[in-house]
């Protein structure tokens, strides 16, 4: 795509402008050139001699100043709504100016005037960089086969280090079909491990008998447990109020969240509006992050993974300091809405004669869970813990909100129930400016959707293989030949050990191995199977480890679709920007071809083309109609539209013409303060608990939930013993295990807690290869300056992060904004594996996570342990100075 990028040098057509010429003064103002980016190559080594003749020529050719070289046509062409399709949790408007099939430039939302109440959905740098991904040098251009692989001799040992050869689509699809047939016939559907999300080839596999896959708590962590059994809302979603209500809060306590880095887009801007309306933010977390910095939040530093102990200390402080003169507890709320707080409020069916209050006060174990106790386990100061308790006591309008980072820790099973319990104790629920819930991504703007994206209408095929492998232990289990079937969202039960024998690994529209913990074992597993194939548009980790790679279109090259309805107020619809690049095809096309080869009728799985699918999606999109108190069709479709689209469908009346919606690319519901569409979580229950009981057995909020303890303790992934109420249970790995002797404070072999912050350079692992993003964000490893000093590490030094599972090299960011004892390895970096040295040079996080999990099988991203030391090997160039790996042997 050299020509495309050289578009920047297009000849000018703009008229020359008037100018004021300032004589070539000779004053030497050679001051220091300011601060420069690490990747900037703009540092001249020495002043160059002025080429007098060149100056003369320039003078001859131009008699007056212009800006010719950098001028290019920025206006002509067609604006198209383009996808930013990754799963950051935000969704934003990205528009692309296309001329003669070439992309001229991108812009973001200008579909309406911008205001805090009706904000534009502005993209972040990731959206602006999509063009560099779509036209990236590392696009998979053709179907490829790994050179040493053959059906007879897989040479699996060479996966990830072999050369590649270009093959035809027919050859590639034949290979895949033959290998699938062999696996189904010889070993059964359970022998095929598939990672996917597009509903393409996985539908074919499901029809053929199914496939083995993983179950992953992923972003949700322990919030994924079925907390509805304790009266909370599923996944703890919709538990915060809406964005207008957030502005009514006097105090916002934010625990373990950084929407600035993880979601981009609109969410940090919503917090800013609350701050501007007068809210004082308190941030509780291990790192004074970009969101907290922007909000000028009061910071309460706490070690990653110890939030449960911290909140127990806060809860005990509320009890200890409560008095009629200085109320710290909303007793009316507890009496009316919750069970299990004390002996007088126990639910029916309680098997254990214990309650939360007496646990905190040390009745059962002689340990009072006060601020001093919590301080030792969390790194937070006694003063801070007491400050937090005072800040959230009843009396002020307080919004207590949490991200999911504290739930993405081993041993964090108690966190969601405990966090919400603080709301029951202080009564900050169900009132204007008061809520206790989750602010993860769009959850900061709670409430039912006001506009909903529709469905493409493809039949979905259920995977008949229902036992899934828990993500953190998947590779280890496959190596061992058996896995524990426990967890999963529908069956919270221990189904025992099940044999596993994987022969084929497939990845489709998913990060697969790159996004799954214990990656080191994953490499070994890949090298033992008969066959691995990946559908990909870029040479990602799964592709690198495969035998056949199929080139897939990006959403910029497909008919159209909608970004998942992520926020209640808007839905993005994207359309085709360019024709498919090289030989790329869509996942659906691949699925159709494979279906045919496997003796299935593709029309049964995919009954219509992608144009009809896009039409279906638009036609089934709906918008809230307050007058009808129901959803109504979003777009108006006429007979003429149906004819123009060349599709089957029925005319319908909506509020925007279908083609206008496609052109606009977004529909945003216009909300105003006091429009009656406010959302206050749990409002119905709190107004009338008898008429609107909760989903728990007691119908109330359960601080004591028998089902929770029984289920977690039977799960079998670990041997932590949970109580029905929130309590402190040491994690199999976490802050405690960084010590050789916790009592004496003596550190062990891996003295740091390793946490994996979401990072602005990418969305999970998506976009990590994009050069503009690599230049903007260097992906260092973060550590406190005092820790670094003790280890002789200087700012920018290359360092080795290692633990018992793997090692990776990065450069060090020394800072004062992170709690000492913590190492921050940003989440999602692409593996850059050196087989000889057994070292990663990419900063991959999943590599550092061992096959270890706590009771519910959580992927514990934020509290593994590590050591860190100065790297003494080869020089480590910054990521933006490295070549992006391309398949060797392919032009």
């Amino acid at each position: 795509m050299t020509d495309y990028h050289d578009g920047a040098t297009m000849a000018a057509s703009m008229p020359r402008r008037r100018f004021v010429q300032i004589g070539a003064a000779t004053t030497a103002l050679l001051a220091a050139g300011g601060v420069l980016s690490s990747c900037s190559k703009n540092v001249p080594e020495e002043q160059k001699e002025v080429d007098a003749s060149a100056a003369e020529r320039a003078n001859e050719s131009a008699d007056s100043p212009s800006k010719a070289t950098f001028e290019r046509d920025l206006a002509d062409g067609t604006w198209v709504s383009a996808a930013c399709w990754h799963n950051c949790g935000g969704k934003c408007v990205n528009r692309v100016l296309v001329k003669d099939g070439m992309v001229v430039r991108q812009k973001t939302d200008d579909t309406h005037e911008d205001s805090p109440d009706f904000p534009q959905q502005r993209a972040c740098l990731r959206g602006y960089s999509q063009q560099r991904q779509v036209f990236g040098a590392d696009r998979i251009k053709y179907p490829m086969k790994r050179k040493s692989w053959s059906p007879e001799n897989p040479n699996g040992d060479l996966r990830g280090r072999d050369e590649w050869e270009r093959i035809s689509w027919d050859q590639a699809l034949d290979y895949v079909a033959d290998e699938l047939r062999k696996a189904y016939e010889s070993y059964g559907p359970e022998s095929i491990l598939s990672f996917g999300s597009s509903g393409g080839v996985q539908n074919v596999l499901a029809t053929l008998g199914g496939f083995r896959t993983k179950w992953d708590t992923a972003s949700l962590g322990t919030c994924r447990f079925d907390w509805t059994r304790a009266g909370m809302l599923a996944s703890n979603f919709q538990t915060a109020n809406d964005r207008f209500d957030l502005r009514k809060a006097e105090i916002v306590v934010m625990v373990g969240a950084n929407p600035a880095w993880s979601c981009g887009g609109i969410f940090p801007y919503l917090h800013l509006q609350a701050k501007k309306a007068g809210a004082q933010y308190i941030y509780v977390g291990p790192y004074y992050n970009a969101t907290a910095q922007m909000l000028d939040a009061k910071w309460i530093p706490v070690m990653a993974g110890t939030d449960t102990a911290l909140l127990l200390g806060v809860a005990q402080t509320l009890i200890a300091k409560d008095s009629p003169e200085h109320p710290m507890i909303d007793w009316d709320f507890l009496n009316k809405y919750a069970v299990g707080f004390d002996a007088d409020h126990m639910p029916e069916g309680a098997k254990l004669d214990e309650n939360f209050h007496d646990y905190l006060m040390g009745v059962y174990d002689g340990v009072v869970k006060d601020a001093a106790w919590a301080s030792k386990i969390t790194g937070a100061s006694v003063e801070d813990i007491e400050y937090l308790a005072e800040a959230i006591r009843p009396g002020k309008r307080v919004s207590l909100i949490h991200g999911n980072a504290p739930a993405r820790c081993n041993g964090a099973e108690n966190f969601p129930q405990l966090f919400t319990t603080l709301g029951y104790m202080t009564g900050h629920m169900g009132k204007p400016g008061e809520c206790t819930g989750c602010c993860y991504k769009s959850q900061v703007n709670g409430g039912p959707s006001l506009v909903k994206g529709g469905s493409k209408g493809y039949p979905s095929v259920k995977n008949p293989v229902t036992d899934t492998i828990c993500a953190p232990v998947i590779w280890h289990s496959i190596k061992n030949g058996e896995f524990l079937s426990a967890g999963t969202d529908t069956k919270w039960e221990n189904r025992g050990m099940i044999p596993v024998d994987i022969h084929v690994i497939h990845t489709e529209a998913a990060s697969g191995i790159q996004g799954t913990p214990n990656l080191r074992d994953g490499i070994d597993v890949y090298r033992t199977v008969d066959f691995a194939f990946t559908q990909a548009f870029t040479f990602n980790t799964a592709a690198k480890l495969s035998d056949i790679v199929l080139p897939i279109t990006t959403p910029w090259e497909r008919e159209g679709g909608n970004a998942i309805s992520i926020d209640r107020e808007y839905v993005i619809f994207y359309t085709k920007v360019i024709d498919p690049m090289y030989e790329a095809q869509s996942d659906i096309w691949v699925a159709e071809q494979l279906a045919e080869r496997m003796g299935l009728d593709p029309k049964e799985l995919f009954p219509f083309d992608e144009n009809q699918a896009f039409f279906n999606l638009l036609a089934s999109s709906t918008v809230w109609d307050p007058k009808a108190n129901d959803y109504a069709p979003l777009c108006t479709i006429t007979e003429q539209d149906i004819a123009n689209w060349g599709v089957e469908g029925e005319p319908q009346q909506g509020i925007i013409a279908i083609d206008d919606l496609v052109e606009q690319g977004v529909y945003q519901y216009k909300r105003t303060e006091g429009d009656g569409l406010d959302y206050v979580a749990y409002k119905d229950f709190l107004e009338d608990p008898e008429a609107n009981p909760l989903t728990s057995d007691s119908g109330k909020f359960e601080i004591y939930c028998q089902w929770k303890a029984d289920t977690l303790n039977a799960m079998g992934h670990s041997d932590m013993e949970f109580k029905p109420y929130p309590s402190y249970v040491p994690s199999p790995v976490g802050y405690e295990t960084t010590f050789a002797n916790l009592e004496k404070g003596e550190k062990g072999e891996y003295p740091f807690v390793l946490y994996n912050p979401h990072y602005f350079r990418r969305t999970h692992s998506c976009l990590d290869q994009v050069d503009w993003l690599r230049e903007a964000w260097n992906n260092p490893v973060f550590l406190n300056a005092s820790d670094a000093k003790a280890l002789g590490i200087k700012d920018g030094d290359p360092v080795l992060v290692r633990n018992q599972y793997a090692q990776t090299v990065r450069y060090a960011n020394l800072n004062e904004t992170m709690i000492p004892g913590l190492v921050g390895l940003p989440h999602g970096a692409w593996l850059d594996w050196d087989d000889d040295m057994q070292i990663d040079h990419g900063g991959n996080d999943n590599l550092m996570m061992g096959p270890l999990t706590s009771n519910m099988g959580v992927s514990g991203y934020n509290n593994f342990n590590c050591a860190i030391e100065k790297w003494t090997g080869d020089e480590q160039p910054l990521d933006c100075e490295r070549e992006i790996a391309a398949p060797r042997g392919i032009e």
């Binding site: 980016s37 801007y269 300056a785």
Partner: protein, 192 residues
């Protein structure tokens, strides 16, 4: 018409670098060339450390040092709006301007053997759009307009923070609503 320049609200900036990339998109710049660039600084020590960002670009100074040093008059002030512009046809790539600018703004582009810099998106403004960085900022931290009007609208705004050179040198057309500590403490530049 008065001199134009940028307003930057440091107090709401999250340091995301969207402005930097929106600029690269509009100008189609390869890695190594930045017409707008965000820097992150840290001041103080744990647990009271603070962070601020600075979204740097051409300040379109009233007395631009690099216009003065250009031996071939390739740098000039556009009298229609006071912005500092660059005539690429006259540029001989000598990099005098690169060294002269106290803000380190001009960028020598090796592949073109020329220097270039932020032109305040005059082409976009001519078709009714905002400069790319302004239109793209997710936090609405950037504005472009007549500098006197911007200063009147944001009376707290300054034209110098601790990390920047003395504004009296060139009288930059920039208005910054600064984090308090950024006014007095330069801090340490942070690799993010």
């Amino acid at each position: 018409m008065g001199r134009k320049g940028f307003y930057y609200d440091q107090t709401v900036c999250i340091g995301c670098r969207t402005c930097q990339v929106a600029c690269k998109n509009k100008n189609q710049l390869e890695v190594g060339t930045l017409f707008r660039q965000v820097h992150t600084f840290e001041t103080g020590s744990f647990p009271n450390a603070r962070v601020y960002h600075y979204a740097a670009t051409c300040n379109h100074c009233e007395n631009p040092a690099r216009v003065a040093v250009c031996p071939n008059a390739a740098m000039f002030i556009d009298e229609t709006d006071g912005t500092v512009q660059h005539d690429d046809t006259k540029c001989i790539g000598c990099e005098y301007c690169v060294k002269a600018c106290p803000y380190g703004v001009p960028q020598y582009i090796e592949s073109k053997s020329k220097t270039h810099k932020c032109d305040a998106c005059y082409q976009l403004r001519a078709i009714g759009e905002q400069p790319a960085c302004v239109a793209g900022c997710p936090m609405r931290a950037l504005e472009f307009g007549e500098i006197d009007e911007l200063r009147a609208k944001h009376p707290d705004a300054v034209n110098q923070i601790a990390a920047l050179p003395d504004a009296s040198e060139t009288n930059p057309s920039v208005a910054i609503s600064a984090k308090e500590y950024a006014l007095t403490q330069e801090g340490k530049k942070v690799l993010v």
